[in-house]
């Protein structure tokens, strides 16, 4: 019997090691019934894109608190696209000023969260906007 699960990669691009949010979210996604692949800290965009494809995830969730999201998030989206994997949804969160939201959406991100977003609202967004693919 088909038993489709949402597969999510929680990834921390760049040199920032503040992983509280990423780890809390990884647990929260597991508790929501998703399969979560956690990459650990200090990943390059290339490592993340390549791992996302090998793992065939539905979503890549990026977390960055260092301010380097302007480079790192679009880089991941672009690499996925170049490798024909733009059906993988890319979302992100961290210390991200509102004025950067648009450039991230333009780069292909589907959602951006800042501190204060509730776990339930994030899970709800995933349930509504992400379908396990075929």
């Amino acid at each position: 019997m088909a038993d489709k699960k949402i597969r999510v990669m929680v990834a921390k691009p760049g040199l920032d090691g503040h992983d509280r949010g990423a780890r809390v979210l990884a647990r929260c996604f597991r508790d929501a019934g998703f399969e979560v692949i956690y990459t650990g800290c200090h990943q390059t965009p290339e490592q993340i894109a390549s791992a996302a494809i090998q793992e065939d995830v539905d979503v890549v969730g990026l977390s960055c608190l260092s301010g380097a999201h302007r480079y790192l998030f679009p880089a991941v989206a672009k690499l996925l696209k170049e490798q024909g994997a733009d059906d993988i949804t890319v979302v992100g969160g961290g210390i991200i000023p509102e004025q950067d939201f648009q450039m991230l959406y333009d780069a292909g991100l589907k959602a951006v969260w800042v501190p204060g977003a509730t776990l339930d609202s994030i899970v709800e967004w995933f349930r509504t906007n992400v379908q396990p693919r075929n």
Partner: protein, 560 residues
């Protein structure tokens, strides 16, 4: 016994009466919620009285300021001789921009400097490393070589102002730059003062600024402790930090316990590896705590920390010098207590947290700016944050008397409870074979992860409140001006680095780096070689690459 028998008897009778009254009132008017607890989920009783602290021993548990066990502070004169150091953590863009901010802060009445480095510098990479893309100058200042560093301290009176540097794996390289800069400006090493954070254990536990495995990381730290003891006596070569542990989501007790146990680990390593006497180096160990939003819990934590450290130094390590028993510490208000929503509320949070730090007896304080949850702080926001400290010091009267909350039934009981719970953790880690062993097992990491998850769940469920997040939410955003680091900073910094590489004597650089490598392999102290290397204009990454090659690279095991 802390109270005379008749006091306790009286209290017991009166308490009975009060309890009866409470029951009656509750029957009609129930409490707003069934359980009242601190932000760390420590349950708090409705009232504290003499029976809650009756077992205290005045001389051994409370005492006087400047006397063992230093519960009431290290200084006999409190803040009357000198307020805490107003030390605002700052760094942004390139060295020149940060230098300008430093001069502004000193002009505004700041009394000590504190350096924030950008991520490539913090992780020991040069700005042109592929791993550094997009990070240059974003969350601190970019330093590649001594040339940058000379610009950073340009015009700063290095013999008068103390400088703290938040730097961990590459601490030897950056401290070497500070020493070299002083020497080049004709200031002897005995005259410079400051702190390098240089606390790797909390990086493995919490903040993940990682380079080499735990054992060689601690070896490098012991090198700096030894070098400081012998040559830079006014320098705190390590700032044992609970701040990041707390920011990673720990409880107050975990912050207390893991930080102090980290401190003990460093003491034990220096004793074992360097053969110094404990009183030769222990007076220069410093600490760094978080001041979170739960006012009394934080005060109790800081008071308990002083008492635990004094006991540990005297009883565990047989230290004889009272200066080794002092726990001197810097405090920073809690970044994780701030909200991006309704950001002006952050001023109130920071002020409350700063007051707790002062009532807890901090020696040095950073107050967060209201916009730090969104970006690097603006000049205006930093000014408000600094003024917050100045108002607490000079207007509120909080500094008038020493340790004003001592003797409070509640504060003393909470202080005792936190100390007890901290010792439980410390003993548990002892049983595991020490902190390095506990870290390898993932013990502190997982304890913190559990606490962080529990807290987030409580916020989601509305059991813990954050105004603007899960209560009193306002739909419209409050726009505030944001500081942005231009992406062009990166290109300019790379150009500067390339210019240095062209003009320096690359053979001399290689020789200097080979000397560091040889010292690593032989187990010699690397510091003298690092100073020579930075003088030859070796870069931060070039020095760190030597460590990575000899000691191996540690990757985040990503425990969850």
């Amino acid at each position: 016994m802390y109270f005379a028998a008749e006091v306790l008897e009286q209290s017991s009778t009166m308490r009975q009466k009060w309890e009866d009254e409470v029951r009656k009132v509750i029957a009609k008017n129930p409490d707003q919620k069934p359980r009242w607890s601190t932000v760390s989920d420590l349950e708090i009783r409705r009232l504290y009285g003499p029976e809650d602290i009756k077992d205290m021993d005045f001389a051994n548990d409370i005492g006087y300021p400047g006397q063992y066990p230093y519960l009431r502070g290290n200084q006999p004169t409190g803040y009357r001789g000198k307020y805490w150091t107003f030390r605002m953590f700052s760094g942004m863009g390139d060295a020149k921009t940060t230098n300008q901010r430093w001069h502004l802060l000193l002009k505004e009445g700041q009394t000590g400097l504190s350096t924030a480095f950008d991520f490539p510098t913090l992780m020991g990479y040069d700005t042109d490393s592929p791993k550094a893309r997009g990070e240059c100058g974003k969350c601190g200042v970019a330093i590649d070589t001594l040339e940058d560093f000379m610009q950073l301290v340009d015009g700063i009176p290095m013999d008068r102002v103390t400088t703290s540097m938040t730097i961990n794996p590459p601490a030897t390289a950056l401290w070497a730059m500070y020493c070299a800069a002083a020497e080049l400006r004709g200031i002897p090493l005995t005259k410079i003062g400051g702190t390098i954070q240089n606390d790797m254990l909390k990086e493995f536990i919490a903040q993940k600024t990682l380079m080499c495995p735990p054992d060689p990381s601690v070896k490098l730290i012991s090198d700096t402790v030894e070098f400081g003891t012998k040559h830079v006596p006014r320098w705190n070569t390590i700032s044992i930090s609970g701040y990041h542990i707390r920011e990673a989501g720990s409880t107050a007790v975990q912050e207390l316990a893991f930080t102090l146990r980290d401190g003990m680990e460093y003491v034990e390593d220096v004793l074992r590896r360097k053969g110094l006497d404990v009183d030769e180096f222990a007076p220069r160990l410093s600490f760094f705590y978080n001041s979170h939003i739960d006012f009394f819990e934080e005060i109790a934590k800081l008071r308990a920390a002083r008492r635990i450290w004094a006991k540990a130094m005297r009883e565990r390590y047989n230290s004889k010098d009272p200066r080794s028993w002092w726990m001197r510490f810097h405090t920073q208000t809690a970044g994780c207590s701030l909200t991006a929503q309704q950001p002006y509320n952050n001023v109130v949070r920071t002020a409350t947290e700063a007051l707790a730090a002062v009532l807890g007896g901090t020696q040095s304080l950073h107050t967060n700016s209201l916009d730090e949850v969104l970006c690097l702080p603006s000049d205006h926001a930093v000014q408000i944050a600094l003024r917050t400290q100045q108002i607490i010091a000079e207007e509120t009267g909080a500094a008038n008397t020493i340790d004003p909350l001592a003797g409070s039934y509640f504060v003393e009981a909470l202080t005792n409870e936190m100390e007890e719970k901290a010792w439980e953790y410390i003993h548990k880690i002892d049983e595991m074979g020490g902190m390095v062993a506990a870290i390898e097992k993932g013990f502190p990491q997982l304890e913190i992860a559990d606490a962080a998850y529990t807290y987030q769940r409580q916020i989601d469920a509305g059991e813990k409140i954050m105004i603007g997040i899960n209560k009193y939410v306002s739909p419209e955003a409050t726009p505030i001006p944001l500081v942005e680091i231009d992406d062009s900073v990166e290109l300019q910094q790379i150009e500067r680095l390339n210019a240095v590489r062209r003009k320096r004597d690359n053979k001399a650089v290689k020789r200097a780096l080979d000397d560091i490598k040889a010292a690593c392999k032989k187990g010699d102290n690397v510091m003298p070689y690092c100073i020579e290397a930075v003088k030859s204009l070796a870069s931060v990454q070039e020095i760190c690459d030597v460590y990575r090659e000899v000691y191996g690279e540690y990757r985040d095991p990503g425990l969850y």
